[in-house]
Amino acid sequence: MGQYGIGQPVRRKEDVRLLTGKGRYTDDIHFDGQLWAAFFRSPHAHAKINAIHSQAALSVPGVRHVFTGDDLRQGGMKPIVADINFTDRAGNKMFKPLRHILPSDRACYVGEPLVMVLGDSPEAARAGAEVIDIDFETLPNVTSTAKAASPHAYVIHPEHGSNVAVHWENSASDEVDALIAAAPHKVKIHLVNNRLIVAPMEPRCAVATYDETQDLITLYSPTQGVRPAQVSFAGLLGIDKKKLRVISLDVGGGFGIRSKRYPETAAVAWAAKQIKRPVKWRGDRSETFVSDHHGRDQVNDAIMGLDQNGRVIALRVETIVNVGAYSGDNGPRLPIDGGGRIIPCGYDIEKFYFSVKPVYTNTVPTDTYRGAGRPEANFIMERLMDAAAQECGLTRDEIRRRNLIPLSKMPYRTQMNFVYDSGDFIGTMDKTLELADWNGFAVRRKESEKRGKLRGIGLASFVEQAGGRPTEEMRVKIDANGRATVFAGTFSHGQGHETVYAQMVNDYLGIDFDEIDFVQGDTDTTPPGGVGTFGSRSSMMGGVAIRRSCGQIIVKGKKIAAHLLQADPDTVIYENGLFRVGVSSITIQEVARAASDPAKLPEGLKPGLDESNLFEREPDMNNFPNGCHICEVEVDPDLGTIQIVKYTALDDCGVVLNPLIVHGQVYGGVAQGIGQALTEDAVYDEESGQLLTGSFMDYGMPRAHHLSMIEAHFTDDQPCKTNDLGVKGAGEAGACGAPPAFVSAVCDALSPYGIQHIDMPLTPERVWSAIAQAKAHQAA
């Protein structure tokens, strides 16, 4: 294994291009004759639409077309129907309101796009959108998650009679309730998992062109996988997917919100074909705040019963998740499938009751965001464990030691019928305690005290599930000159696949790192079975498919080599780019050259060294990244401000393909987790339904000074047992570990005041108020 092989901290191939301004993002491309799109968006949280007047817009200089949703529907546009079907225990199906693209009858959230204006310039289109005149009749609205679930709440989709889409339960609750009632120790918590704006740094953009001779729409837009996007948007447009080419160029971050069926993107694709001209829409940042899916937004009530020794007997979790005005493809799925499958995470708890009520509100729809249900689930468990430690008089690490699934029980079949193949949760926690110098904390606390600061240390153990969809296709081709190309079904949008896959091909086929090219993000060249990148899946799904493609190349290569060496194929040995029979050998480059010449090939063998592998993982071949994060903070008790002073992470990502890149994934995930816990909150005004945090002026994105250096370590003794590479996902672990580790640390800092919990984000005022209240309480 050379310096460019698997496991090496190879510098990224992507970097020089991106560092010198040669990246190509969707907004960087222009087409001659393109029209610019702008959208009139609902200023109301909830309103009937009585009439849409476009005349004024059409009179604005430079405006060429105004399209309403009726125009789109007449032109074949279909409504979005969420691809989710949950039922309650009585068999009643989940209610899914139809989501029309540019609805003509009713606006259901502030920012909902209602009319599309096309103009010669972005300024003209915008000016036109500004004078669209709609006769609205405002209706009551509800945005609060908890309130929407109440039986007295205003119902936003009257045809259903309730905002609750379905009451999903994993089982009856009697047994669990009885166990908890009888338990010697009980802890009860109420959590708000705050709504977040995902805000990848590239604002969404869509460009579409139409080729009349081929009846082909080409859509450029950031996705996280072009093939599913092709299927989705073709479905909405009512056309055969072969008539839609989807291209994603460089994409500026995804985090789970890219590949969705967004109305603007669909409308742009539709318009290009309608007017037979290229159409471009570039979203403003503030626009994306009310059009890209939001993340999280749950309310959780949980009760846990424990025995005399602090062993959990039973667990009850009730979750309300705010779906938004319409269900996206994932909203309700996140706590049910995402979180619900993983709960109770790394803990050895057999008896649990899990209830989820997805509710509709007049807000932007929520959907997958880094972790997609697993950070929320881990947050519930970790806050419960901290509360249980307090209740049972145990330390926070001891309560976990007693309840985490021990190594001896691996592989462990969960109640949801998943198998944790590997993972030493207790060992990982113990190692992290050591790495973080947990035992030396008291000394550091005293030192902070001298400077007037309250220091706290927090601990979080987490398990999450990686993998996403169960199939992926990759293709590896070696041309006649021995140069390799990887055609990826996955889609890198910052994860460094161009580098990591090249490391793999270098390792498996001995081809020079610099002789390996990378192609992704175009339905014309992406393998037909390609899916994409989300759910921390690419190392396993893409990685295994590449390994197997390379394996197929070796098999074919051996046949060609045998033919060239006039030997029996079974006697050919392959190693590090050489095919060897006895003392004779042929390089893979020579085999590749021969492969292009039918005369040099054995009979019946097709020319070319070009292999695809469609990997379909078995139902039990999931992988479960896990780890332990320890966070230390200093709180200024007078102001309530919090500074992170130390952060230690030990992650079990199985085999680490490129330490530089995997470290980066941990840092990025932790930063997003800290953002949720410290500075971020998407807030709606309860009366008007307006999104109060409408831009970066009000929405607190974490900056460099909010974070400290993160000491990230990786286990090296827990390879994944269910895939060829031994990899586990790495992308979402940080988002699972950071929020609970941080909150645990702050509560530890505030333990002199007896503060057990503060809801995220832990703004200075919230911390200060908690202290003030606690002081008043103590004085009383």
């Binding site: 991106l18 560092l19 805000a199 740094m201 590239e202 500026g252 910052g494 470290h663 980066g664 997003q672």
Partner: protein, 156 residues
């Protein structure tokens, strides 16, 4: 209105509308798309370039304000022979970028920090990045890269 300015060493004259933003001028008129627009409230820093050797947010300047100025964009930071600026090289070494969208602004700000504050420590650099938002990296690789380049600048 006619403006004459030097961009990455090349002097040029263009006729621009007064309300054209400098970032849009660079991206749409000059087709230098390396400078990015990531927000509309002057916070994210993706649009940072050097104007008369100072880091500025090109999304919050009019092209006409740059008349007579000397501009360097990310495309012009490396040397003509391709040698990367020390900050660019440091970003490579320390994995200071993932998706690359905030990167041009980060690098231009980083180069500005290194010029003004050779030998800057970690805390200083973190605060100097107040006007740059990254969603991918958690800033760790970025801070390490700028610290590295800054200490190199002090040594030389």
């Amino acid at each position: 209105m006619n403006i004459t300015l030097t961009v990455n060493g090349q002097t040029l004259t263009r006729d621009v509308a007064p309300y054209l933003l400098l970032a849009d001028f660079l991206r749409d008129e000059l087709r230098l798309t390396g400078t990015h627009v990531g927000c509309d409230t002057t916070q994210c820093g993706c649009c940072i370039i050097h104007l008369n050797e100072k880091a500025v947010k090109s999304c919050t300047m009019l092209a006409v304000q740059a008349d007579g100025a000397q501009l360097t964009t990310i495309e012009g930071l490396a040397r003509a022979d391709g040698t990367l600026h020390p900050v660019q090289e440091a970003f490579r070494d320390h994995h200071g970028l993932q998706c690359g969208f905030c990167t041009p602004g980060m690098v231009m700000m980083g180069a500005d920090i290194v010029r003004r504050l050779p030998g800057a420590d970690e805390e200083t650099i973190r605060h100097q990045l107040e006007g740059n938002i990254c969603r991918c990296t958690g800033y760790q690789g970025i801070v390490e890269a700028i610290m590295d380049a800054s200490s190199q600048a002090k040594a030389s």
